[in-house]
């Protein structure tokens, strides 16, 4: 189970403290899933970073009672002068996993061929994303954190990602954040909306989507989130 209790995140800016969101609480039991809808700048990626533990909340508490992934397909953590394989070895060492049994899957999924043994700096963004996604699949997690905006690729890649995540691992929990309701409508049992620094809950995905459309129609009121 993951639980957030009165979580808030404040960033220091030149204008003063800025509330990304405040008083966010929810729980996600093992094997369940949740979609988080929010327009650009609503704080979705920050939410994913907090849940993953990469960043700490300013106030409140986050408990993780299961193995939670890092933000899926995150390409930023690669050392560019190391090969894809060396980067794989690093992640495996951090998670205490032997990399050798994982190689066939990684080679098959990434379709990188000999490039797996070339420095990452020679990769295109798409190649990096494939490697990053394959890495997140190679390590066993109970809950995946998915930022849809990060999983950029062609139709074939998307299809294979969806197969890996939502078919082969359909028993796992996940949190999917997106500014686009399609994926959330397709895969999530429930959804919430992140807007104006608050998390709004709804009885079902359709109600959440209806509210999200309303927030999209409004001008963003970011000024209110500065504490002055």
């Amino acid at each position: 189970m993951i639980s957030l209790e009165h979580v808030s995140k404040v960033y220091e800016t030149r204008r003063g403290p800025y509330n990304v969101f405040e008083d966010v609480s929810f729980t996600l039991p093992r094997g369940r899933n949740l979609g988080i809808l929010g327009r650009n700048g609503a704080g979705k990626s920050t939410m994913i970073r907090l849940i993953s533990g990469a960043e700490r909340p300013t106030t409140g508490r986050i408990r993780r009672g299961m193995r939670v992934s890092w933000p899926l397909a995150f390409v930023g953590a690669f050392a560019h002068n190391l090969t894809g394989l060396d980067n794989l070895k690093f992640v495996c060492r951090v998670y205490g996993v032997n990399h050798k049994p994982l190689l066939p899957f990684i080679e098959d999924f990434t379709e990188l061929g000999p490039f797996l043994r070339e420095p990452v700096l020679h990769y295109s963004h798409g190649m990096m994303t494939r490697l990053a996604f394959a890495l997140s699949m190679a390590i066993e997690f109970d809950c995946f954190l998915i930022d849809e905006a990060m999983i950029v690729g062609d139709a074939r890649f998307h299809e294979r990602c969806q197969y890996e995540l939502f078919h082969k691992r359909k028993d796992r929990a996940f949190i999917l954040v997106s500014h686009d309701a399609n994926a959330i409508k397709t895969y999530c049992e429930n959804a919430v909306v992140l807007a104006e620094g608050r998390l709004h809950s709804f009885p079902n995905v359709d109600a959440a989507y209806a509210y999200y459309l309303e927030t999209l129609a409004q001008k963003p009121e970011a000024m209110e989130r500065w504490r002055m």
Binding site: Y11, A54, Y95
Partner: protein
């Protein structure tokens, strides 16, 4: 996988040691690669520095107060000491920035990044000192250490000082980039005062009093007392140096903890 701190101690220890190992290997390959000498550069790089300095000091005939210490031995012990307190800090002041994306893996903490870099620098400087002193002793340019235990003691104190300074400065960069910018001029200015290029005894007593406020001076003096024995007159107070290191370590660990809360990716 729960955050470190909510798990039993030994489990945390296991996680941290595998993270440290992973970071250590990654840093080693990232920095030196697999081409030519590869990881041997870890020792090679400080060796070249030390050799260069030893050559220049020998050519310049740096005054050694008529004490009869071989100049090469003086340079090797002196410059190796500088490597100990300077390099770990220099590398730690860029540690957060260069490793920030790794913190996306929850079990990787900034203290692990610092420990890795400190360990690498200490290993490099120690390896360089051992190789050079073996070599110069073998060809007869350096005497055998008079009291090996004292040498190791001095070296350990310098390592402690370097490590605690590195923690404090490295974590300080999370609060202000000034720390990184100021460290290089500070290190440059501290070098001539650090006891590497002189013995405290050569200085006028007023200057001795001032220079002995610098903790690393005590370490270098102890190291040289151990190396050259009573041929040289040394001035040091290891109690004072230990107090400074302890204070730096405590401040360092506190600032590291606070820095961990501040790191943002945004």
């Amino acid at each position: 996988m729960t955050a470190i701190g909510e798990l039993p101690f030994f489990q945390c220890l296991a996680i941290q040691s595998r993270v440290l190992r992973a970071l250590f290997l990654r840093e080693l390959i990232t920095r030196y690669g697999r081409d030519n000498l590869g990881v041997l550069w870890l020792i090679g790089e400080p060796m070249i520095f030390t050799l260069g300095v030893a050559t220049i000091w020998s050519l310049a005939g740096l005054a050694h107060g008529g004490t009869g210490i071989p100049i090469v031995a003086f340079a090797v012990t002196g410059y190796s000491s500088v490597l100990m307190w300077r390099n770990a800090t220099s590398h730690c002041t860029t540690g957060i920035e260069e490793n920030k994306p790794l913190l996306f893996h929850r079990s990787v903490l900034i203290i692990d990044v610092f420990f890795t870099r400190i360990a690498l620098e200490i290993i490099g400087a120690t390896g360089s000192l051992i190789v050079l002193s073996f070599f110069f002793t073998f060809i007869g340019w350096m005497p055998m250490p008079d009291n090996l235990l004292m040498v190791i003691g001095g070296w350990f104190m310098l390592a402690w000082f370097g490590a605690s300074l590195a923690l404090l400065a490295g974590a300080g960069t999370a609060f202000s980039s000034l720390v990184h910018r100021l460290w290089h001029p500070i290190a440059y200015l501290l070098f001539p005062m650090s006891g590497a290029a002189f013995m405290v005894d050569w200085l006028p007593s007023k200057l001795q009093y001032l220079v002995l406020f610098l903790p690393m001076v005590h370490g270098v003096e102890l190291l040289r007392h151990g190396y050259f024995g009573n041929v040289v007159q040394t001035h040091y107070d290891i109690g004072y140096m230990a107090e400074c290191c302890l204070a730096l370590s405590l401040c360092g660990m506190y600032v590291v903890r606070e820095a961990g809360r501040r790191v943002e990716f945004g």
